[in-house]
Each structure stands twice: as structure tokens, then as C-alpha cells.
Symmetry: D3
Subunit: 132 residues, 6 copies
């Protein structure tokens, strides 16, 4: 199994609901360093998993819709705790939608899986892994 990973980041504000979150119930924020991993069993005709330039652009486009925002104000996240793990799924699902819509080209249809990891600090990160 092959994989290629590209890294980017976003900076957002948000708050959490639920006693378990303690002081993080207050409005605060995070830098998420985001890794998107693309997986497939066989390389394409160019001997690659995915065009790394286009993969970076698509990840950047997905993140552009999230960054420099207060996620508490985003209709898409109404009533949802935007935890690091939940946001990892949001990014992965939006990337998957783009891949299925052909954004990474015909060859990228051979992609089989996707992992998205959001690093919220040097001591904590979360991932979501899905098939394509």
C-alpha cells in the first residue's frame, strides 16, 4: 500500500459545550496543522499516488473555507462541538467529495483511502480515517 501526505494549517476560533471541556467552554481558538494522507494499492501511470501539487491545492481550498473564522458562527457546525477529531472528519469528508467530483483528475479515482490528522499543539493531535 502506497500513501502520500501533504501538510497545511488553519487558525480558527471556537468554543465547546459540555462540562468535560472545562476552561475550553470559553471562546478560545487553535492553530490546526493539518496532514492529509492519500492511499492506494497501485501507483498511477505517472508512477505517483496523486499529483502532490493538486493535492496540496485541494487541501488548501478545503481549509480556506474553515480558516480565519469563528466556527461557532458557521451554520455548517450549528449545535456541533467542533473538536479536533470532529474537524478531522469534516476535512476528510470535504476532500473526499472533491476527489469524487474529479478535482484531483481521472488518475486520482484509483485512490482508496484518506486519513486527515489535525495537530492542535505539540502534545495533542487527532485523526479521521476513511475509505474513498
Amino acid at each position: 500500500m502506497f500513501s502520500v501526505t501533504v501538510r497545511d494549517h488553519i487558525m480558527i476560533a471556537h468554543s465547546f459545550r459540555g462540562e468535560v471541556f472545562g476552561p475550553a467552554q470559553a471562546l478560545h481558538g487553535a492553530t490546526y496543522v493539518v496532514d492529509a494522507t492519500f492511499r492506494r494499492t497501485h501507483l498511477d501511470a505517472d508512477n505517483i499516488v496523486v499529483d502532490i501539487g493538486r493535492a496540496s491545492e485541494e487541501l488548501h481550498a478545503v481549509l480556506d473555507d474553515l480558516g480565519y473564522r469563528n466556527l461557532d458562527d458557521e451554520p455548517a457546525f450549528a449545535g456541533m462541538n467542533t473538536s479536533t477529531e470532529a474537524l478531522a472528519k469534516v476535512v476528510a469528508d470535504r476532500l473526499a467529495d472533491r476527489i469524487h467530483a474529479g478535482a484531483l483528475g481521472e488518475d486520482a479515482r484509483g485512490l482508496e483511502g484518506l486519513v486527515v490528522t489535525l495537530h492542535e499543539s505539540h502534545i495533542a493531535w487527532a485523526s479521521y480515517e476513511r475509505s474513498l
Copy 2:
């Protein structure tokens, strides 16, 4: 599949028995930067894998029983080479015991797997992965 990882560290002394270990047969030591990864298919009612604060506390408690010690003197490791990979299993199994005893709360009973990685330097690390 979702995961959350928290990082901490310990500093220990130990020695190894067996020619394969070369100079590491002498008493020496290590800093282990320890990553504990918690996995589950579905998020809990708070939209998280695990309370990251409590996960960090439990990892810290497990490491507190190992750190600032000469592992050669620990009865728990009598006759055992405390290799990085073997210690990864020790940490994972002790964390699993705590999870099963309810230390991470009721919601954490949905956890399905655990990976513990010990980084012994910038060029070597070891992991142990188990189900819960």
C-alpha cells in the same frame, strides 16, 4: 476510524542483557517521549474520542510509576529487557487496565484500540498497538 493522541515523557535508567545490545549492556538511560493514541469508530455524546485532559492525566499517572527510576531495580521488570518496544507494551497495557477500570469515564468504554509509541531519540522509536 477516529483517533486522539496525547504526548508526555519519562526519563529512566536501565541496562540490557544480551550480546546484541553491545555498549547498551552497560547501565545507561533514556528519555522516552511517549505518544498514546486512543481509537474508536464513533465519537461519544460530546463529539470526542476521549476527554483529552483526562487522557493526558492517565498517561501521566502511568508514566509517573516508571519515570525517575532505574528500571533494573523495579520488581515488575525483573529478568526482563526493558527495550523501547517492551516498555511501549507496558505503558499500553497499564493504560488499558485504567480504561477498563473506568478511569476515563463511562463514555471511554467505546474506545476500541490503543497505540503507544516511545521515541528514544530523533532517529529511533518503537510502538505497541492493541485492542481494548
Copy 3:
């Protein structure tokens, strides 16, 4: 010249005023991974720059007054752009006040300088350096 550095982090929300900030004029947030470096020419009687445990505690205390907050609502920052570099100075000055007040003990009075670095992402960070 000797130095010791300890690392911690905070997660905050804020916004910026000024065209130069582009999309960062909107409410967003950041994780700052914070490094505090303590400098002195001669080690103390214990052969150290500073008690690393107490240094970590003091850094943590300074960061506790900043983290899990919307900095736009903090009276201390009224009318001020809380840029990464400006916050580095805030952390350094507050640490210096604590050192001068004796928080790191008598031996720490031999400290001569302080550098605080805030990493806002994997591709950008800022520092403030001052004497003590």
C-alpha cells in the same frame, strides 16, 4: 553563556485591526507553542541555570492568564493588536516580573536574559528577547 529553555502552549481567540492583516481581521484563533529561554553567564550553586521544574511552573502560570480566552475581551490588551511578536513580549515581561519578585528563587537572581518564542504554526513564529 548558558541557557535553559522550557516549552508549553496556549490556545486563544483574537482578531486584528489594520488592512495589513487581511482575513485575520476576522475573529479567529491560534495555538501558540511557547518556548521560554533563560540565560546566564555562570551556573548557580546547583550547577544549573534555573530550576527547570519551577521555570516550567512559572511559564505555565503566565500562560494560564492568557489561555482559553478571547484576547479581544481582555482589558490588558484593549486597543492593541495581539500579534505573535507582541504576545511574545507580554509573556517575557510577565515572566521577568515574576523572576524579579523572586518566583524562581534566590539563585535565579543571577539570570541575565530572557527570550520568549511563540510558534503560531509549523511555518511561522516570533520572538522577543530582553535582559533581566
Copy 4:
């Protein structure tokens, strides 16, 4: 499942054929920071996955045949795009050949899997995973 990872690096020149590669069609180069991960279900008689010293030596030997070269001139890669992911497979397969030939010793015959990751920059890396 246990694993041990060792890290090394190579510096090579190469070029790519195919429009998808854009400016990377020109002769350029890369530093690949290379991680080789060795996996097995049960530890050996010394309580380890593999002799970390010998594993490092074998990885170094494999990389020595690749580094400080223009890969475009290597007969082994004639007509092949030496993408990061393709090179990960080359390193993994050559390591596997050495393991099968006994280079890591008798105990290493218990190894079950291998993952090789090549980091081409701080924002992109690729992996190849195989069984042994």
C-alpha cells in the same frame, strides 16, 4: 503488534517526465529523510523487534546505493519516474531482500511487515507498506 522505526537520509538529483510534474520536470534534487518501520506480533528472545543497530546499518547500506547520485543516470531506474512514493517501495523492497537473505539475523525472520516513509520536505512525505 510491535514496531521499531529507524531514521536516516539521502540526498539525490533527478527529474520527472510527465506534464503533471510541472517545474519538477527539470533536473532538480531532494533530501529524503527516510524512516524504516519493522513490524512483528511477538518480540524475539531478546525482547526486541529487531536489533536496532543492525536495522540502522542495513537501512544505511540500502541508502548508500542511492545517495549522492543523479537517479536519472541509474540503470535500475531507466524509464521510471523516481517519485517519492516509488522510491519508498525501492527502499522497502531492497530492505526486504536483505532481511530474507538473513542480514538482520535469525531472530529477524519473525518480522512480518515493513513500512518505509520518505519525507521530501516539511510539508510532504510518502510511504510504502508491505508484508515480509
Copy 5:
């Protein structure tokens, strides 16, 4: 003293002349992860060292003239060993020229110093520091 650092990277091919370089006398290549640090004593009217967006763009522009090339073929480097430290100076001097030409705006004229660091691997890097 304040500083802001931004990170980017280039991938180049080159070779060295001189016995001291050993196997690196052959055509090979490198990824350089490049950090550019901007220093000044006083923050500007926006409370920043430099517009981090523009600083990143200028660094990127300087690197664009170097990346995806065989440096042995560049007239600018004829007869010169393009060592990591020498390239750090090239990047710093070109950035300085742009700053002096006003590329970072009027406020950036308050910048006093520049440090450029090129990381050639996880175990080696080089810097060049100059005033502005």
C-alpha cells in the same frame, strides 16, 4: 529585540568541487527547508515586525528563482560551491535587496537584521546572519 520567522523550501540539484566534499562531488541534490528571520528593536504602527504574509511572499519569490534547478547550470553560481551556508547568504542578500527596494512596504524599513537558515536534513543545517 523582536523577530518574526517564516518557513518555506526548495528542491535543487548541484555538485561540489573539492576533495573535502567526498561523495558529494558527484551530481546530487537537496531539499532545503528555509527559515527567514526578520529582526527589529521596535514594532511598527500595526504592532508587528513585518507583514507575515508579504514576508512569506518575498521569501517564496526569492526561492522561486532557485528551486527546481541544477545550480551547477546557473550563471549566478559559476565557479562557486553552492554549499548550504553559501546559499543561506544568497537567500539573505536577495531578501535584503528586496526589502531595501521596498517590497515589504514602508514600515519594513525599520527592520534591522536578517537571519536565513537552510536545513539540508534532520541532522544538518546552516545559517547566515546580516544587518539590514
Copy 6:
């Protein structure tokens, strides 16, 4: 001013004397990831700060005399707390002795300064800086 840095590591056991060290008064250990930085104003005839291969070898030789040992048993450290900062000075001074003895060659006599940093964990490190 130019600099070149090379990285290596050691794994040692030791203990500390003094209440300030708390639990670290017990025999424990550390991995020190060691960075040695060589500085000079002008590059040598080969356009480098120092032969990076020889610099790495000399650092390795210095570390070889420290690693895989219990520092409490070393006559050189009798009655001395081998704190991270104190060990940084030991490594720097031993490297300086080798440079003065010509170990890095004639051209290395142009070196003006040395910084040695020992990372004891992901959240703490110490440096010693000296002239040559």
C-alpha cells in the same frame, strides 16, 4: 556571520544532588539530542564553515566518551551535577579542544564560536555558547 550545525545523540544514566532536583535525585537517565553549531565570519577556501562530515565525526567522538554510561561513575564528573546545561559545556569544551588540536583541519582554525545544545525532551533543552 555564518554557522553550520550538526546533530547527534547520547543515552546516559545519572542522578542529581540537591533538593531542587526533587525526584531527579534518584538514579534515572536521559537521551540528549545534541546540536553542535560552528560559527565564523568568513567562509573558507571551499566556501564552507567547516567540513560537515568531519564536524559530525568529531561530535560523535566526543559523545562516544559520554554515551552508554552512568555519569555518576565517571571520574571526570566526580562531585559535579551533570545537568543538561553543564553537559552542554562539557561537550562544547571538548569539541573546542579538538578544534584547537587541528581535528577539523587547517581551515577550521577560522572558526570563531561554538554553541552546543542538549535537548533532554520535547519540552526542555539547554545550551552553552563560547568563543574559539
